[in-house]
């Protein structure tokens, strides 16, 4: 009797994952009640995560590993590949980039020209940088410096800026803040050529500035304009992996449902499994395509 009960229990467990031949139904985990439960669990999870963000600051958030030194190195690597002279890091341009990034957070916009009509050049002129040529590249929500420069190189207009021979100097700002209600990392790259060549930054000045950045980086954690944010758990990555995992699991169960039902001749009066598979595949693709991080402007 004990063996029979154990056997029945085993059969019952199996039908959480496989269709039921006698009852002609899908696996228990594909029942509509199960989907409502998954949705509820996900909503609860979202609620807990959002509560934890305020309860445990510095643990959950948007983590990126982008810094000025790497951005400068990768930019100059791309220029050397194209036989262009390297750009020198200029403190005034970096400050202008930082002011621009902060202004974007303050006014909640993501564009070269602000909604109130302020152009990038104003930030450069505010730093008393008198230029004959100037340019700006923007990026948001990338994780690594290399990804940022690669994205600029992939975009023809940004590539033109990055490899232009009209510029001698460059400035960067990496600023974390909240844009459209989301924690965001903005990268601003500003190019320039001073009107007076005597004002060109020297390699010595650049080294001095880079050293000051390293020192500031060592003493600053989140919300800086120089480098990475250091959350223990990166929420976008966590959410993306979680979404992929659950969609993949459900998708696998539906594929198994088709295979097992065909093999055992189980005719079920349900919705179309193939249609469910299509929407799940589309959801996975859309998370990969639309919900990816990193945009340039």
């Amino acid at each position: 009797m004990k063996d029979l009960a154990h056997f029945k229990e085993k059969i019952h467990f199996k039908h959480h994952f496989l269709p039921h031949k006698e009852r002609k139904v899908r696996a228990g985990m594909l029942h509509h009640k199960a989907f409502f439960l998954y949705s509820l669990v996900f909503l609860l999870f979202l609620g807990i995560v959002n509560l934890s963000k305020t309860a445990t600051p510095g643990v959950l958030g948007y983590a990126s590993d982008i810094n000025v030194k790497q951005l400068l190195d990768f930019t100059n690597q791309e220029r050397s590949k194209d036989n262009k002279k390297p750009l020198i890091l200029n403190e005034k341009l970096s400050k202008a980039a930082e002011q621009k990034a902060k202004y974007m957070f303050e006014k909640n916009f993501w564009a070269h020209t602000s909604p109130d009509g302020i152009e990038p050049w104003k930030f450069i002129l505010d730093q008393s940088y008198d230029y004959s040529y100037a340019g700006e590249n923007l990026a948001r929500n990338f994780y690594y410096s290399k990804e940022v420069v690669d994205a600029w190189i992939k975009s023809p207009s940004h590539k033109e800026n990055l490899l232009s021979e009209n510029y001698d100097e460059v400035g960067f700002a990496v600023v974390n803040g909240v844009l459209d209600g989301y924690e965001t990392t903005l990268v601003v790259q500003m190019f320039g050529r001073p009107r007076d060549v005597n004002n060109l930054t020297t390699i010595k000045d650049q080294e001095k500035y880079l050293n000051s950045i390293s020192q500031k980086l060592a003493s600053t954690e989140n919300n800086n304009s120089l480098g990475s944010s250091t959350y223990v758990i990166d929420l976008p990555t966590l959410f993306r992996y979680l979404s992929f995992s659950i969609l993949g699991f459900v998708l696998a169960l539906f594929v198994l449902d088709i295979y097992y039902s065909k093999k055992h001749g189980i005719e079920k009066f349900t919705g179309h499994t193939s249609a469910h598979i299509i929407i799940l595949v589309i959801s996975i693709v859309s998370i990969y395509v639309i919900y990816k991080n990193g945009h340039v402007l």
Binding site: L46, V49, D180, I279, I282
Partner: protein, 84 residues
């Protein structure tokens, strides 16, 4: 409904969804575009399913709940992936 007719519908759905992905990827900088995509994908799916099953005369409560639950599930997953 024959397999061939189903296939035509599936191809149409797949192409429509692919267009949605392409379109919303074009608008990708905006978080609001992500919200709209998260809502439009399952809404269209649910509407298609209802129309399809009504046409087939097999729209029952449990089938409606099946599509509703999957649509809701997809909506919440996409919302989660929006970096909430």
């Amino acid at each position: 409904m024959s397999f061939k007719k189903h296939l035509v519908e599936y191809i149409f759905i797949f192409m429509y969804f692919s267009f949605l992905i392409y379109f919303f990827n074009y608008l990708g900088n905006s978080n609001y575009a992500r919200y709209i995509f998260a809502a439009s994908l399952p809404t269209f799916y649910l509407l298609w399913a209802m129309a399809h099953h009504m046409f087939e005369e097999r729209l029952k409560l449990h089938i409606f709940l099946e599509y509703l639950s999957i649509s809701l599930f997809v909506f919440i997953i996409l919302l989660t992936a929006s970096n909430l």
